[in-house]
Every structure is written in structure tokens, then in C-alpha cells.
């Protein structure tokens, strides 16, 4: 599986529970002073940076292949 596919699946897995919680009145992301919104924001930030690292990893793998050839 390509890293792009893995990332879109990961993103959906993380977003889905949030949207389900968001529909109820006693909303998980709004509980305890909305602290879980901060957690969601940090998770997105982490995913974004990880996406970049994976892309860089892919480029380096290509370079390694070229050197071997």
C-alpha cells in the first residue's frame, strides 16, 4: 500500500469518531472544558508532520535505488 493511501485511511479513522461524538448533546470534544479539541488539533499537527516525513522517506528510498543502479 502506498503511504498516501495509508494516510488517508489514518485520517478517516481519526476524524470519524470525532464526527460521531459531535452529533450528541453530551459531546465528547466539548466535555471537560473542550480540552479534547486541543487534543484533536495536536493530532492533526502530528499527522501533517508525519505525512511530510513519509514523503521525504519515499524520496530517499528512490535515491538509494538510483545509487544501487
Amino acid at each position: 500500500m502506498k503511504s498516501n493511501q495509508i494516510f488517508s485511511i489514518l485520517f478517516l479513522l481519526i476524524i470519524c469518531p470525532f464526527t460521531i461524538w459531535a452529533q450528541s448533546d453530551t459531546d465528547f470534544l466539548r466535555s471537560t472544558g473542550k480540552i479534547y479539541t486541543v487534543v484533536a488539533v495536536i493530532a492533526i499537527l502530528f499527522l501533517g508532520i508525519m505525512y511530510f516525513i513519509f514523503r521525504l522517506d519515499k524520496k530517499i528510498t528512490e535515491i538509494e535505488k538510483q545509487i544501487k543502479e
Binding site: T37, V38, V41, I42, I44, I49, L56, I63
Partner: protein
Amino acid sequence: MNIKKSWWKWLCIPLGLYVLLVGMLVPLKPGITSIDNFNATAGQPFSVHVKGYNSNFDIAENLKAFLRLDSSFLIQHALIKVNGPTDLQLQFDIPNFLPTSEDYATGTLILDNEVDGPSILPAVIRLEQANINVQDGNNLWSKTSLNLASVEKGFKFPHRNILNETIRNTFFHVAIWFAMFFLLILSLINSIQYLRLRSFEKDINASSYAEVAILFGLIGIATGSVWAKYTWGAFWISDVKLNMSAVALLIYVAYLILRASIQDIDSRARLSAAYNIFAFVAMIPLIFVIPRMTDSLHPGNGGNPALGGEDLDNRLRMVFYPAIILWSIIGYWLSNLNIRVKKITEQLISKK
């Protein structure tokens, strides 16, 4: 890794731990989360249930509650019943007349005690009156004066209504935008240097900084969207700052498309350097000027400078500024890795 040369990379570790630990663990100041009654009528008792946040109603001895009108007239509570540390039952005896010639007024709820200090829930209670008598209203409402306890206890972040704990997003969402500007400035400098020196290295630098800056911009939009959903109520609203930053980001995405669409290395470098300067110049009014000329939900727009006012107090600044440095360093580091990968790829191609 040579520590003397790469000290700024090691700086990420203490800075990151500081931002995460202090940013997440420092408690908020006490505040009011919700009330259950928003409508009061003149001449009748108004009883309301108050939910506090981080409050100590049970420890406090000198509890006071005020109902304050926009015209700064106020009355004090008639009854207070403490149900728990964050649970309070209040009753106000609303006078027969309001100090206004309208048939309604808007009231702000103020709680005060010697442990928590004042907590305010602004403009939430609607007071109505059947008969208007401004003279009597003025007399009835001007009997109490507002003496608030001044408490400065411990290192705490401000409690803002609606925002609550999400004020901590300042260290992530806002700081990532600042890091984006830092990277875009580096990209701009490299583009100008390319046009002056025609050195291919500068072109690689400029594009690498711009790529990471766009990644940070996308993270900024995504995190802002989640933040907006749980404070303003929707993932995307028609706010100037949101739309303009989306436009600015699109202009930069066009920079990447422009680079990808030109095969010839020299003309690609020259055109994209010129376009990068245009994109930066276009971004300044889009993000910094236009949102300040109209009203925006973002703090600091519609008049005030972004770093002033009560929304960013000195306690928040002590984490916010290190957070900007942290994300800028991480962005610089990521773009540096990107630059090195691109240079090695170029060397390999030219050797073949």
C-alpha cells in the same frame, strides 16, 4: 551529529517538552461555563443555576454575585446557595423598573469571591419590563457598588467564555501560522537571491521552504477548522480571515503547480522566483490588511493589533513565543532535509 553545529536541532527537545507540558498542564483561571436561566422580568425574583469551571465555591466564604446592565447599573444577589465546588444556585430580586427607556435590557452575570476572584459571563441575561419608569429605575439600580476581590494566585491561563480550554490551541494553531510566515520569508529571500545571482541552489532552497510553508498552512487551516467547529459552531464560516487565508494558500499552491508544469530548469527557476515574490506580496494584504479593515471572529481583527488586548495575556505569551520558535525550527529543519534530498537528487541526475 555534531552538537556545536546542530544545537538548534537539539533545542527542539527542551522547547517541545516545555510547550507541551506547560501549555497543557497549567490550569485555567476560574470561570463560568453555563447558566440555566436567561430571561428575567422586572419586579419578580430571578433564580438561576450557575455551573463554574475550576471554581472553589465550597471553600470561598465571601461569595458575591452581581447582575450588571450595559449602562453599568447593577444589583447584588438576594440569595446564594452553594451546591458544590462548581455548582451554585443564585437568586436576584429584580427591581420593579429598569434604568432604561426601552422595554428590555441586557445583563451580565458577575461572580466574585476571595478564593477565585471575579468570573464574568457577559451579556447573556435578557431583562424585560412591562412599564417604563427611567427615574425610579435609576434610583432602584444604583444602590450597590462593584467591589471585586483582587486575587493573583499561581500561574494560570485566562478563562475565556466559549473558548475555555481551547485557548491552549494558541500554542499550536496560531504558532504554526507564525512558523509559516517565517518559512515564506526565507523562501522570498531565496527567490530574490536567485534572481540576482542566478544560482540554482537558491531555487532549490526557495521551493523547499515554500513546500514546508504550504504544509504548515494546510495544517493551520485544518486545525483552525476543528477549533472553529467547537467554538464558533461550524467547520468553515464566512469569516474574512478564513476566506482570505484560503485564497493566500491557493496562490501558493499555484506556485507548486507552476513549478511542476515547466520542464526547462532555467525558465522554471526564473518564472517561479518571480511568481514567489508576487505571491508573498499578495499574501500580506490578504492575511494582514483586509481582515483588519472589516469585522472578523479572529481576535485582533476589526481594528486591534493581533498581539494586543486581553486575548493573549502575559502568561500565554510565556508559552506562545517559545512555541513560535519551536515550530519555526521544526519547519526550518524539515525544509533543510528537503533541500538536502533535492540537492543529492540533482547531483545524481547530473552525474548520469
